[in-house]
Symmetry: C2
Subunit: 366 residues, 2 copies
């Protein structure tokens, strides 16, 4: 039986994700972001709710990406997630994409020319953002055309790159329905962005998400629930450059902007530049919010839930890797757990996220 | 003409304070806490409002105590404040007290025996709180009876101690009306505690404070407006012992208590012990809130306001000391100004507290 790995955020889980899981083959392992996501913001609902939605709709195992993998630029995000899936025994990597490309060929090229490609990046002008640089790299070495540039496209290329040398079969799955950033509501498969935007429109949420009740009943948050805390952090710390990825330049920009703004979006607008993209600034604000430091990744893999079929696989994996299924006095990953504590501050109904919580078990035939 | 110095918090200003100012002689200089007060909490209204109330009711000059003088145990508070008043040319120190004691004699004893008295403190058991120790010290060396122990009594003794060797005439003024901590409303002169407690009772506030409208119209805060920020600080910082007066023991106690409490008062209750008094814990929480460090005191004296009579005196003083009347790009005291920024976070209507603000001028005949 194939073991398919899928990297996901499910922010929130919707019919597009369900379709992706249906297209994937064999046992399906999802490596999912925890309570903070790649674009640098809190997830709309907590990791347990999102894991349960996934398990009720096709996933067999959901494991958690540590904070410092989940909140990273595309390359680090993909690398960290693919490493975990590979450790978990995946032989196939399935991912959504808007483009019909030969990703295996792209991975092969990267495997062959990784050094030249990395060297090429170094030669590019520093006025370009990192995404712009990688785009130029792919264009030069593979001839890909970025005219239809989309976030999933960039992520898919990052997966190809991350799986180079890993003996993983790549299975791109063409996305159905709305594009990633679409805020349109009138589509069969609404995007996660549209659902977050219209989360208070119950009818729309019921139409566009399976297991909708889980989503609707969970405490929902967005960046603005954390604005006061971020502002306080920036104002109260004389130095900010102990925080991961904060340099003196960005610290100064944040310190002078913070006294004039009233929301995270205003702050991001004021601080972002061509080189400091909005996504990068949002990630930096997330690092500041949770006071992130440069840290080692945890050794164990934290399991959020599984089906019976998934449980069989976990039993086998336990012999060779460290599976963390319940976090007690010894932390799994201090950084992620601190981030979770702070995530809880965004809404008084968010439950304890780690200590003593057991994986979700979905009883169904494998 | 006598120049009388008065140490005050005016939290808020009431008829008892007005009486004290009336009893004082000559030019009246008040050294007042800024936005955080000695017992370790945010002042109910900002320093500008409190200074204006004082200037409208008898004070000639109001200068600001730097944060690290204002939020300190009685001895350091008194010492820092008396030093500033002495620098400002005060020859008399007036203060309220419940006890008719010969404070000049007490100051004389301290002047003579300071070393023995300090050595005596060292011999006392560490299970005693600092206030308990100083109480024993005064009992042993001066025979004072502490049966009617009150905060003002302790402060008055601290003033006596602080003025030792300073050539300051001590003028104790017997308090009228309610005792310091009284929460009773039915008294001619209500205590500041009672007024804070019943701040939403407009009739009571009008009865017990002069210049009531200033108080009633100002944005009012209390500790609970800052609970979310303190909780966030404790949760997000792996180490707390970089904060002034936070040691490993108190840091651990705070870290384990914070996940179980829902208010500052609950937190103080959980963390305080016989040795860590509630006042000390509140001060520590204030240090954490504003991220205070051990710092040097500022050189200049920050003037919050003056009458015409006060202005004459300031002109003379300017020749020998640094008077800061407007804070621009160069900070007066970074710690105080950071504390003020954070004070502002407690209520969205609190105005900028430092940058570009000029002293209050009250036009009246000297």
């Amino acid at each position: 039986m194939a073991v398919t790995g899928i990297v996901a955020e499910f922010n929130p889980f919707h019919y597009g994700h369900k379709y992706l899981l249906e297209q994937a083959e064999g046992l399906k392992i999802v490596a999912m972001s925890g309570n903070f996501v790649q674009r640098g913001e809190p997830a709309i609902v907590d990791k347990w709710t999102r894991a349960q939605m996934a398990l009720e709709n096709g996933a067999d195992i959901v494991v958690e990406l540590p904070f410092q993998v989940a909140v990273q630029s595309a390359d680090y995000f993909a690398q960290g997630a693919v490493d975990i899936l590979s450790t978990m025994g995946a032989d196939t990597l399935a991912f959504g994409t808007e483009e019909d490309l030969d990703y295996s060929e792209i991975a092969r090229i990267y495997e062959e020319k990784a050094e030249q490609m990395t060297a090429f990046l170094e030669t590019l002008d520093d006025s370009l953002s990192y995404p712009q640089k990688t785009q130029k790299m792919w264009e030069s070495f593979t001839g890909i055309d970025f005219s239809g540039n989309t976030p999933n496209h960039i992520l898919a290329l990052a997966y190809a790159k991350a799986s180079a040398g890993k003996n993983l079969r790549l299975q791109p799955i063409k996305r159905q329905g709305a594009a990633y950033h679409s805020q349109e509501k009138n589509q069969m498969m609404a995007s996660a962005t549209a659902i977050r935007k219209h989360i208070s429109d119950r009818t729309f949420v019921l139409q566009s998400t399976p297991s909708s009740e889980l989503l609707l009943m969970a405490p929902q948050v967005n960046w603005e629930n954390y604005f006061d805390l971020v502002r306080y952090h920036i104002l109260s710390q004389e130095q900010l450059d102990h925080v991961f990825q904060v340099n003196q330049e960005i610290a100064n920009r944040l310190k002078s902007a913070i006294v004039h703004v009233h929301s995270i979006e205003e702050l991001v607008d004021k601080v972002s530049t061509k080189r400091y993209t909005k996504a990068r600034v949002r990630r930096i604000l997330t690092y500041i919010l949770v006071n992130a430091r440069e840290n080692n990744l945890p050794n164990g893999v934290h399991v959020l839930g599984f089906t019976e079929k998934g449980q069989e696989h976990l039993k086998k994996m336990k012999k060779s890797i460290s599976i963390v299924s319940r976090i007690g006095a010894v932390p799994w990953d201090q950084q992620t757990q601190t981030a979770d504590r702070i995530y809880q501050l965004g809404h008084s109904d968010i439950k304890e996220q780690n200590f003593g919580r057991s994986p979700i078990r979905i009883e169904k035939l494998g």
